[in-house]
């Protein structure tokens, strides 16, 4: 661990002020939300900021609200813990609550923000696959005013996004969704907690009738490509088909073929691919079983089978 070089820290009260500070002080500045990625980058990965702009005094970046049209707006500073325990999210999209609940530990989740998880752009970011299957949009405040982009086109590569220097991610918008939407997020990692995803799979789908015919489906993968990705080939396997072991397995195979995992100290690429296959299948089958509400810990652990 390295002691950081001294740097200046600013605490603006508005988005406008924050952006101006950033422009005024020039390169070498970083925004700070919960700091659970930034502090580690500084202490352990040799990042040397010239200055830091703390966003936490900006009230408008916080909170989770439901609009009349059924869309949800999550402030960039909403913490993982807030997303995990939010009534409206756990009622409507329990798998999103769960993906936030899979992050680190409670202590980490009390600090870590959803905006930070997205802005940091690691391929294994846990909330991203769940947001991708909800077709979330992100709003950024830029030099040329507010911009909205689909989350799917937000990421450019590990640690890289469409945001330019001084841009601030302000909110995440989840568009209105059918009340019948069902979903699942599986984080596959060797330990129960405090682990990065070897593979993350999110699924959201709509089915018709008792036959479980798939009308609409979205599948997203984390940690197995340079940026979190939609698995469109896998989705195509399911649309208009009955969801069962066999079709889910084939969707899993498709997902495994379209991802591009790497080998590292945690796992080999080949193994990761197999885990995409298995966990995509399981996520699909779990999603059709429908599991309302936020499951308690133990149930969540058991469900990864």
């Amino acid at each position: 661990m390295k002691r950081p070089e001294p740097f200046e820290i600013f605490q603006p009260a508005s988005i406008q002020e924050a952006r101006e500070l950033h422009i005024h002080h020039g390169p070498g500045g970083y925004f700070l939300a919960g700091g659970t990625d930034l502090a580690i980058a500084i202490k352990e990965k040799g990042l040397v900021p010239r200055y830091v702009v703390d966003l936490k005094r900006i009230g408008s970046l916080s909170g989770i609200r439901e609009n009349a049209d059924g869309s949800l707006v999550l402030g960039a500073l909403a913490t993982m813990r807030e997303v995990e325990i939010s009534r409206v999210i756990s009622r409507r999209f329990p798998f999103l609550s769960q993906s936030a609940g899979e992050v680190g530990s409670i202590q980490i989740r009390n600090r870590a923000t959803i905006g930070g998880n997205i802005a940091n752009a690691t391929p294994s970011a846990d909330v991203v696959p769940a947001l991708l299957v909800l077709e979330a949009q992100v709003t950024t405040s830029t030099q040329n005013g507010e911009k909205q982009v689909p989350l799917e086109s937000f990421f450019l590569g590990p640690g890289k996004t469409v945001m330019e220097r001084g841009d601030i991610l302000t909110e995440i918008i989840i568009p209105p969704a059918s009340a019948n939407l069902r979903g699942e997020y599986i984080k596959f990692s060797p330990r129960e907690m405090m682990d990065l995803a070897y593979v993350g799979v999110a699924v959201a789908l709509l089915t018709d009738g008792d036959e479980n015919v798939c009308r609409e489906v979205r599948i997203a993968l984390g940690a197995v490509s340079p940026v979190p990705m939609r698995a469109r080939k896998a989705e195509a396997v399911l649309v208009n088909r009955v969801i069962n072991e066999e079709s889910a397995e084939r969707a899993g195979e498709a997902a495994a073929s379209e991802c591009t995992p790497i080998s590292d100290v945690r796992a080999s690429a080949a193994y990761r691919r197999h885990m995409v296959r298995v966990n995509t299948k399981r996520a699909i089958l779990n999603a059709v079983c429908g599991r309302p509400g936020n499951l308690p810990w133990v149930a969540r652990r058991e469900r990864r089978y």
Partner: protein, 788 residues
């Protein structure tokens, strides 16, 4: 036995409050007046000659007080082979070896100065596997091995880079194999793992410019041994060296011998009397202190059709890393019991400790037994399976019982092994259907167990003093280090028992080698037994003085007195009792003190002879244990989940039952980590790839299953109140028990640790392709890898 008042009770740890409130001072917390801060330049090469070191720029940096390299510290050290320089001497032998160090006014300056040191290397061939390193023709990692100072237990090996060769020879294994109905040989692999103690390593040192006295503040588990080693290395008389021990935040073996101490001392010689602190961070602790030995274990066994063990041959390659450190003794103490706790007429063991260009390996809770148990106990299950015998029946048929003559020539007594086997297997429901009657599809449930016997280093000595002052307060002076294991509590209970004083009247002094009487070490699960006996004797002597004085005050004889609650009274007399304080005040005055001393050595003990592996009393006592696991293996992912673990341990006598449970549960957690996750991954340039808790996976509380501990008390005739030891065995059988359960679940066996999801996954895939060979009682030699 008499009724006991304090021993056998789960009293609250006496250091609990200090620790939970954060007021306890650990080595890492220490701040000394006027101290300087040290930082280290580490080698980036696994094996290279140092062509040039340029420290000029570092020396000129403002705020720098000293820069040292191997030239400034021309000393070497080592437990039994003096092969390790304080700082690299002309050559580096692993990535992470300390090459130079800086002392400066603060850490940032020291770090900046380290970055200014230039080193030029010329690479040599490097070895990252002990088997490769001892191939005939391998380049020597220590060219000067022959001329190193060594202790007489060192037996050089027949091949390159072997630093110790342990041999055990009993009977004739070749004849034994010929007599057998079934012969099986297998190879087992255990990787290097980290100790991962909560507190990383640090040391503070000061050299008095006038007297030359060297004082070191360090949380070392063997201050007297490290004092001796330091004196020997520096060529100073022992009285010129003083070790002061703050609390240790866990060590598990990693904090014995010299680690950061050498660097702090080398710097302190150059700072005009100012103390120097050297702290390692987590990554440095992982790489540059010590690891557990990787081990490659070959076992070949011959058995009769009825399950009688006839012969066993074991060959072990212990990966010692770049320097010997404690490898010779790990090789001896770990290889000696490697054939397992069984009656076997023909035994041959060859243990080789081999230099490699990897981080050093040394003491680790269990001292080699966990590695060989992984091999031996899986091997036992596989033998049973091939014989078509139940794994428990097979063990019961061969396992040590009271009065057996062991293969190393010792007549065993107080053997609680069978009881642990029966109780652990009963608790796990061995032979019964699993509790999970309907596991989800794709989930395989299995059970397994494993047993061990762990010796302790013998003979060793502990000495202690117990002092009672005129307030009746009791002070224990004992050199056992509180490493978190609870020794302060145990020794306080023993003193309280002998003196019959309330436990809160008893304290234990902090450790300072200038003041505290000698103790061999806080290792090898030896403290309760050895220091327990010493404190007990010291307390009895102090008690005798109290009762002698009281007898004269009461005008009676000692035999008529009785002690309770810190007071002494005459049996069957109405006369009021006198407190110990009152007795002392009345006889010796208000400044009076009573003190007793005590010492304990297991006199007849003699460590096994490294040439024959024999000894009639190889260990003061043996610790026996059986652990059992029930696992759920996810066939599709290879993930192993533990449903339940049972641990039955023969502790002789539980001085503090709750502390025993805590030791066992802590051991289980460590053993589960080693079984499922832990491995220091080293790439082909010798770099550790996962020196952080991000990728070095200890278990978390959520990964732990339901744990049931069973305390078996088979009293030791010489232990205090019958106690044996318990520090180490908690993790020793764990991986093998889990491995056996996984094999039971899958019908296929995995020979290499850890049982990570990926390894298990590929094993399942392989077994689907080639189902395991049919079980037969014909002589089989599977995997007949060359027995040299």
């Amino acid at each position: 036995m008499e009724k006991l008042s304090f021993v056998g009770k789960s009293i609250t740890r006496v250091d609990a409050e200090e620790k939970v409130t954060g007021s306890a001072i650990y080595g890492y917390d220490l701040v000394l007046p006027d101290m300087l801060y040290g930082k280290v330049l580490f080698s980036t090469r696994p094996h290279a000659i140092i062509k040039r070191i340029d420290t000029e720029k570092a020396r000129r940096l403002p705020g720098v007080h000293a820069v040292v390299t191997g030239k400034d510290a021309p000393w070497t050290h080592g437990e039994t082979i003096k092969d390790m320089p304080f700082l690299a001497q002309g050559k580096v032998r692993f990535v992470g070896e300390p090459v130079a160090a800086v002392a400066a006014v603060d850490e940032d300056t020291a770090q900046a100065a380290v970055a200014l040191i230039e080193v030029e290397y010329e690479d040599c061939p490097a070895y990252f596997s002990p088997e490769e390193a001892c191939n005939p023709g391998a380049v020597l990692i220590h060219e000067d091995y022959d001329s190193y100072r060594k202790s007489d237990i060192i037996v050089p090996g027949p091949l390159p880079n072997i630093l110790e060769h342990f041999k055990l020879r009993t009977g004739n294994v070749e004849a034994g194999f010929r007599e057998s109905d079934l012969v099986l040989e297998q190879r087992y692999v255990v990787p290097a793992i980290g100790h991962a103690a909560l507190e990383p390593h640090s040391a503070h040192a000061q050299v008095d410019p006038e007297s030359g006295k060297v004082t070191v503040w360090v949380a070392n588990d063997a201050p007297f041994r490290v004092l001796h080693e330091t004196a020997e290395a520096l060529g100073l008389p022992k009285e010129k060296i003083r070790f002061i021990n703050p609390y240790q935040g866990g060590g598990f073996g990693s904090k014995g011998a010299m680690k950061v101490e050498t660097i702090a001392i080398a710097l302190a010689y150059q700072t005009n009397g100012r103390p120097v602190r050297v702290k390692f961070n987590r990554a440095e602790t992982f790489v540059s202190t010590i690891t557990r030995h990787e081990a490659i274990v070959y076992i070949k066994s011959g058995v009769k059709r009825d399950g009688t063990l006839v012969a066993r041959q074991v060959r072990i390659y212990w990966g010692a890393g770049a320097y010997a450190e404690k490898s010779p003794t790990v090789c001896i103490k770990g290889s000696h019991p490697s054939p397992g706790p069984y009656r076997i007429p023909h035994v041959q063991v060859d243990g080789y400790a081999v230099y490699t260009n990897k981080p050093l390996a040394g003491a680790f809770r269990g001292y080699g037994v966990p590695q060989t148990a992984w091999a031996c106990e899986q091997h036992m299950d596989e033998l049973a399976q091939r014989l078509g015998m139940d794994a428990l029946d097979f063990r019961l048929k061969n396992v040590f019982v009271d009065g057996d003559l062991s293969y190393w020539g010792e007549r065993l007594q107080s053997v609680g092994l069978k009881e642990t086997l029966l109780k652990a297997t009963e608790a796990i429901g061995w032979g019964k259907k699993t509790g999970q009657s309907n596991p989800p599809k794709g989930i395989r449930i299995g059970k397994g167990f494993a047993c061990i016997a762990k010796p302790t280093r013998t003979p060793t000595t502990s000495t202690a003093a117990v002092k009672i002052d005129s307030r009746g307060d009791v002070m224990i002076l004992a050199g056992t280090v509180e490493i978190g294991q609870g020794c302060t509590t145990i020794l306080s209970q023993i003193a309280a028992e002998e003196l019959q004083v309330p436990i809160d009247k008893v304290r234990m002094h902090s450790l300072d080698t200038d003041l505290i009487p000698f103790d061999a070490s806080t290792t090898s699960s030896r403290s309760t037994y050895h220091m327990g006996n010493a404190v007990k004797r010291a307390a009895v002597k102090a008690r005798d003085q109290i009762t002698e004085m009281a007898a004269s005050l009461f005008d009676t004889s000692k035999e008529n007195l009785e002690l309770s609650n810190g007071k002494v009274r005459v049996k069957d007399r109405r006369e009021p009792a006198l407190s110990f304080g009152e007795v002392i005040c009345q006889k010796l005055g208000s400044d009076g003190v009573v003190a007793g001393d005590g010492a304990y050595t297991f006199e007849m003990g003699k460590d096994v002879d490294p040439q024959t592996g024999h000894s009639e009393h190889a260990s003061a006592f043996y610790m026996y244990a059986t652990q059992a696991a029930e696992v759920a293996v996810d066939e599709e992912t290879g993930r192993v989940r533990l449903i339940r673990m049972v641990a039955a341990h023969d502790v002789g006598k539980a001085i503090n039952p709750l502390n025993c449970v805590a030791q066992i549960e802590g051991g289980l957690a460590m053993g589960i980590g080693a079984a499922l996750h832990e491995e220091l991954v080293i790439d082909d340039h010798g770099r550790v790839k996962n020196p952080s808790f991000l990728d070095y996976h200890l278990v978390t509380s959520l990964d732990l299953p339901k744990m049931e501990t069973i305390i078996v008390e088979c009293p030791d005739p010489n232990g205090p109140y019958g106690a044996k030891g318990l520090g180490e065995p908690g993790l020793a059988p764990t991986p093998a028990a889990i491995g056996n359960a996984v094999a039971n679940a899958l019908g296929t066996r995995i020979y290499e640790l850890p049982l990570s999801p990926e390894r298990v996954y590929w094993a399942i895939q392989t077994s689907k392709k080639n189902p395991s060979p049919s079980v037969s009682a014909e002589p089989v030699v599977s995997n007949p890898t060359s027995f040299r």
